[in-house]
C-alpha cells in the first residue's frame, strides 16, 4: 500500500468537472480531502492524500495529469523549521495523529507520513516554527 499527498490545482475550466468522483469510480483508491477551496477567479485548490496499491496510485495520478490537473507533491504536509524549533513540545499534545512527538531525549520528531495537515499544531507553536503548506504556497 502507498499513501501519497498532493496539492491539486484545478484551472477555472475544470472546477465544474467531477474529476475526483471519476478518480474514485475508476480506480481502487481511498481519497482523503484535507483541504479544498475555490478562489474568486474560480481556480480550485485541493490538498489530498491518495492511498491504495502502489501501481494503482500511480495510475490515479496519471488520470489526474491526463485531466490537466496541476500537482505539487510536498515533501512534508507541514513545514517544520528546525532552525526556529527549540524542542519544547508545546505542539505535541495538539497533534492527534501523533506525527509530532518527542523522543526519549526530548527532541522533537516529525513523521510526515502520519501528518494529516489538520494544522492544529501551528497556533500552538510559540516560535513560528510550524507553518502550513497552503500558507507557504500563497
Amino acid at each position: 500500500m502507498t499513501k501519497k499527498s498532493a496539492i491539486l490545482h484545478f484551472g477555472s475550466d475544470l472546477v465544474d468537472k467531477p474529476i475526483i468522483s471519476g478518480l474514485i469510480r475508476n480506480y481502487d483508491v481511498s481519497v482523503n480531502i484535507l483541504q479544498a477551496s475555490i478562489t474568486p477567479e474560480e481556480d480550485g485548490t485541493m490538498f489530498v492524500q491518495i492511498e491504495g496499491e502502489h501501481a494503482i496510485v500511480q495510475k490515479a495520478f496519471d488520470y489526474l495529469r491526463d485531466h490537466r490537473v496541476d500537482m505539487i507533491f510536498p515533501a512534508k504536509n507541514l513545514i517544520w523549521d528546525d532552525k526556529k524549533c527549540v524542542d519544547c513540545g508545546a505542539c505535541v499534545a495538539h497533534c492527534l495523529p501523533r506525527a509530532l512527538t518527542v523522543d526519549g531525549s526530548g527532541k522533537l520528531q516529525f513523521n510526515s507520513e502520519r501528518c494529516i495537515a489538520c494544522e492544529l499544531c501551528i497556533p500552538a507553536c510559540p516560535y513560528h516554527a510550524l507553518g502550513s503548506v497552503s500558507e507557504h504556497l500563497s
Binding site: V86, D87, C88, G89, A90, C91, V92, A93, H94, V102, S105, G106, K107, P123, A124, P126, Y127, H128
Partner: protein, 403 residues
C-alpha cells in the same frame, strides 16, 4: 569533607575541577552515595529555557545632537518605557505595538512584540527607533527616527525582575467547552491536554531548594552570555508548602537577573508568540552550584520523581483566583507524555525546552571545566523559609470618596 568557594575556584583555575550537570549527578549519587560524590564533584550545573514574561532590556542610546529627553519611544513600533533619565529606555518583553490587532479577531496571533525586539537586538539586526519629546532648554530636540543596532549602543542590559521560577503550575482546561488560549499554551476542552513549564530536575532553584548557594551576586549563564542574580525575583515566595524532601509543591522562589546583552546569543534569547494571549521572551539560564558539602550534593541529586507540580484549572479557577489544585503530579509523570488525572489519561506538553535546558547545563559545565567561568559567593542570601518574606494577593481598598 567540606569545600569552600575559594578551594573550588582554585581547582577551576588549575583545570582540575570536576563538574557534572544536575541530571548526571543523580546517577552518581545513587551509585556512590552523597558522601563520596561530594568528595569527588566540585560543581553541579543547572539549566532552564522557557518563556519568562517578567523580563526586559535596559538600553542606553547615547545622547543625540542636539540633546533630547525621550518621552515617548518605540523600537520596531513596540512601545518602550522612557520614564527614566533622558536617553535610558526599558523595553518589556510583553509589550505590543499600539496597532497590534491583539484578540480583535480571536485568537490573535501576537506575531511581534518586546521579546522579538530583544531577540532582534541580540541577533545584531538593525532596529528602527522613534521617539518624541516636549523639548526643554537643556534637551531641545523634539523628535528622532533612526536605525539603531546593539553594537552602537553604549549599553544594552538584560534586566529581568522575575525569572527561573522554582517549580510551576500544570495547566488544564476542566470546564470550558472550547479550547482556551493561555500563557501556558492552548488547552483543549475536557482535559484535552496538560501543559507544564519547568526544567524539573535541571531547574536551578529546584537543585538548591533552600537558597544556600544561589543568592545576590551569583554569577550565571544568561542568554548565552554571563549574568548575575541581583535580588530575589518579584513574587518570591519561599513559604509555599514543601514535600518531605523540602521541595516546594508549587511556584515558590524566583530570581531577578541581570546581564550584558552584548555577550548573549539568539540561540538562548527567543521572542515568543502565544496564540490568543500575547508576546513574551524565552530566556536560557544556567546556574552553577558549588558542592560545598554532602548536604549540597544531596539536594542536587533531586530527580523528576521527587518534584511535584500542582495541576490547576485555567478555565475557571486560575482566572478567578479561586479553588485549589486538582491534583499534584510529578515531573517524571509529566515527562512521560501522559498523566493520570481522576482516572483519565491526559496528554502532556512542555512549554519549556528540556533539550535546551540540557544544552545550557552542558555549556556551563564546559565553561567551568575549561577554566573560563569562576564561581561567586553570594554577597547576601535571598530570603528563605522563616525570613518573613511572603507573596500575597492584591489588597484592594476602595478609593476614598468613591461610592
Amino acid at each position: 569533607m567540606t569545600k569552600t568557594y575559594e578551594e573550588i575556584n582554585e581547582k577551576i583555575k588549575n583545570g582540575k575541577a570536576v563538574v557534572v550537570t544536575a541530571e548526571e549527578v543523580i546517577e552518581i549519587v545513587k551509585d556512590k552515595g552523597a558522601k563520596k560524590a561530594a568528595d569527588e564533584i566540585d560543581v553541579v550545573t543547572t539549566g532552564t529555557f522557557g518563556p519568562m514574561c517578567s523580563s526586559g532590556a535596559l538600553l542606553n542610546t547615547g545622547h543625540t545632537k542636539p540633546r533630547m529627553n525621550y518621552k515617548r519611544a518605540y523600537l520596531n513600533r513596540v512601545p518602550v518605557y522612557c520614564g527614566v533619565a533622558a536617553v535610558d529606555l526599558y523595553i518589556g518583553v510583553t509589550a505590543m505595538p499600539d496597532d497590534d490587532p491583539a484578540n480583535k479577531v480571536f485568537p490573535g496571533k501576537f506575531e511581534y512584540g518586546g521579546g522579538h525586539v530583544i531577540e532582534d537586538l541580540v541577533s545584531g539586526k538593525d532596529v528602527v527607533f522613534e521617539a518624541t519629546s516636549h523639548g526643554t532648554q537643556c534637551y531641545p530636540r523634539k523628535e528622532i527616527t533612526a536605525t539603531i543596532n546593539i553594537r552602537d549602543l553604549p549599553s544594552a542590559t538584560l534586566l529581568n525582575p522575575r525569572n527561573a521560577y522554582q517549580n510551576y503550575n500544570v495547566a488544564v482546561n476542566a470546564h470550558a467547552k472550547h479550547p482556551i488560549y493561555t500563557y501556558m499554551g492552548i488547552l483543549r476542552p475536557n482535559f484535552g491536554n496538560a501543559n507544564y513549564c519547568s526544567a524539573g530536575q535541571l531547574s536551578p532553584l529546584l537543585n538548591d531548594p533552600n537558597y544556600r548557594t544561589i543568592g545576590i551576586g551569583t554569577k550565571i549563564f544568561l542568554g548565552g552570555g554571563t549574568g548575575y542574580v541581583f535580588y530575589q525575583g518579584t513574587q518570591h515566595n519561599p513559604e509555599v508548602p514543601r514535600n518531605e524532601k523540602g521541595i516546594p509543591m508549587g511556584g515558590a522562589g524566583t530570581l531577578a537577573l541581570v546581564g550584558d546583552m552584548k555577550t548573549m546569543s539568539r540561540r538562548y534569547i527567543r521572542g515568543v508568540s502565544m496564540t490568543g494571549y500575547g508576546v513574551s521572551l524565552a530566556v536560557g539560564i544556567g546556574v552553577p552550584i558549588p558542592v560545598l558539602d554532602e548536604e549540597m550534593i544531596a539536594s542536587c541529586a533531586v530527580s523528576d520523581a521527587d518534584i511535584m507540580a500542582p495541576v490547576w484549572d485555567y478555565s475557571e479557577d486560575y482566572p478567578n483566583f479561586q479553588g485549589k489544585p486538582i491534583a499534584h503530579v510529578s515531573y517524571a509523570e509529566l515527562g512521560s507524555g501522559r498523566i493520570n488525572l481522576q482516572g483519565r489519561e491526559i496528554e502532556t506538553a512542555s512549554i519549556s525546552s528540556m533539550p535546551m535546558a540540557r544544552e545550557i547545563a552542558q555549556t556551563l559545565k564546559k565553561w567551568i571545566t575549561d577554566g573560563n567561568f569562576l564561581l561567586t559567593k553570594p554577597s547576601a542570601p535571598i530570603p528563605g523559609t522563616g525570613s518573613g518574606v511572603k507573596y500575597h494577593p492584591f489588597v484592594e481598598r476602595p478609593v476614598k470618596g468613591n461610592k
